[in-house]
């Protein structure tokens, strides 16, 4: 009997050990595939930027986007991850952030640490997303070095500082204001959109975009179907992005980034409902397939902050509102003389703003988990939104102004007229000739054609 009991104890111990390892490895696997899916965001941005460019600039736009991805990885390793772990109190680094320094023993293959590498990878892909958002706005007239410096500043410094403040279990925005932004409407999309706006003011429009009297010309994308397909790829990637926003704790319920319990089901309901609303809202406003797919993104961002708690019809209505309103912001921006080639500021900056503020209305009162932390409030969300807008805009404006002073920002106008591909790319996009189809006679209408 005693021998049987001892064998039983031994078996239970072995089973418990195996289950523990299964949970740890499953957690790694989950974030591994979230990261892989997020690469389709970058593939989507690549297609969408190249499609939105004219034939003479297609490959230069592609090179710029690919380089943004490449530079994001090492720079996020050098200092991005450290910023997230260390700066949750503001601008003074906390001592426990040292685990993110590139010489810490957790920042490389380590058999005692199954978490750091996979979380670093997921956050690096979030960083690449911010750089891609910015990349589209500045196509066809930004210099490579200036672009890379700005992309690194945004992706490996600015957004992740916002992440430390408002997308961290002990970030000061959450601790002091109850800021709630589970799907990163503020910390990713607002920061990237407002950063792009700051840069666009100094970069100026593409040659030929505006006339002497201030009226705007439509600069047509060379391949709208490619652009639309790219946007659909971004939607696919967002399922990895949003999966990466949730914490997998083996043996326990899922948690959001703030430690509050949630489910993947919650995210599934509201992501799809927001997306659908965004498409419908943008279609009703523009009837333009580019804006319909941009509307899908806007719809997700408009619901993103409260994906964990919204009643799905609320997410749908927020998406519809965002999809309808944001194209009007794009028109307004153009009337102000700002050439945002892919609508990055309206889609991400304003779409994210709607998401953050809406959470203060439609998720007000949801409790926080930390001792003494305030619940979700409209005031807390507005504080968060203003913080994210300034955090994006000021570095974007100041850094691009400095680059402009050093002649590293804008491609000379005569080179823009020739086209960037023929000047600096050793291969041709369409070597057998590009044959345009019949020209549409329909006025592009309210929204700027992509």
């Amino acid at each position: 009997m005693e021998q049987e009991l001892a064998q039983l104890v031994e078996r239970v111990t072995a089973l418990e050990g195996g289950a523990g390892w299964a949970g740890t490895v499953n957690s790694e696997i989950f974030y591994w595939w979230c990261t892989a899916l997020m690469i389709t965001i970058h593939a989507g941005f690549l297609a969408y930027e190249m499609g939105a460019s004219r034939v003479k600039n297609v490959l230069a736009s592609g090179i710029k986007n690919i380089l943004a991805f490449a530079f994001m990885v090492p720079t996020f390793y050098f200092f991005g991850w450290y910023i997230y772990l260390a700066f949750y109190n503001g601008f003074i680094p906390a001592a426990d952030g040292a685990a993110g320094l590139p010489w810490d023993l957790s920042m490389g293959p380590n058999l005692a640490d199954n978490a750091t590498g996979i979380f670093w990878a997921a956050f690096t892909l979030f960083a690449a997303t911010t750089a891609s958002i910015f990349s589209g706005a500045v196509i066809e007239r930004i210099q490579t070095a200036g672009f890379l410096i700005l992309a690194i500043l945004l992706g490996s410094v600015v957004w992740i500082l916002g992440g430390a403040w408002g997308w961290h279990p002990t970030g000061w925005l959450t601790v002091k204001w109850g800021y709630h932004d589970v799907g990163a409407a503020g910390v990713v999309h607002m920061v990237a959109g407002f950063f792009a706006l700051g840069v666009l003011i100094n970069l100026g429009p593409r040659v030929g975009k505006f006339n002497a009297d201030g009226s705007a010309n439509v600069i047509k994308a060379h391949n709208i179907p490619f652009t639309i397909t790219g946007l659909m790829l971004i939607i696919v990637g967002f399922f990895g992005f949003l999966g990466g926003c949730i914490i997998y704790i083996p043996g326990e319920q899922w948690q959001n980034i703030y430690g509050q319990p949630t489910t993947l089901s919650a995210f599934a309901f509201n992501t799809l409902m927001g997306m659908a609303g965004g498409i419908i809202g943008a279609w009703m406003k523009t009837r333009d397939p580019f804006w319909m797919m941009s509307g899908a993104l806007i719809g997700i961002f408009a619901a993103a902050s409260g994906l964990d708690v919204y009643y799905p019809p609320v997410a749908f209505l927020l998406g519809t509102f965002g999809g309808f309103v944001v194209p009007m912001v794009a028109v307004r921006l153009e009337k102000m003389g700002i050439d945002d080639a892919v609508g990055a500021f309206p889609v991400h900056g304003i779409g994210g703003l709607i998401g953050v503020v809406a959470c203060g209305i439609f998720a007000a009162g949801y409790p926080n988990v930390g001792e003494g932390y305030p619940p979700v409030t409209l005031i807390g969300q507005i504080v968060g939104a203003v913080t994210m807008a300034l955090l994006g805009f000021i570095p974007g404006y100041v850094a691009s102004l400095i680059l402009k002073m050093f002649g590293l920002l804008r491609v000379p106008d005569h080179i823009q007229e020739i086209g960037l591909d023929v000047v600096k790319v050793p291969v041709e996009a369409y070597p057998e000739g590009y044959i345009p189809g019949p020209v549409t006679t329909i006025d592009p209408g309210a929204a700027p054609a992509e």
Binding site: F71, G108, N110, L148, I415, I418, V422, V423
Partner: protein
Amino acid sequence: MNTSPITSWDGAEAIFTWADSPTMMAIALIGALAVTVGAIVYAASHDKHAYASYKPK
């Protein structure tokens, strides 16, 4: 050259190249930083040269 920080897998934790040698880690890290910064400088130089040397065919 022995780059392994371990002599056995039993109880091993940090197993990456030169994990037991801060000097070598620093050299590799500085090298990676230098390539990253150098590539940006190269980008500026390449753009400047391309704009100045372009001649229509």
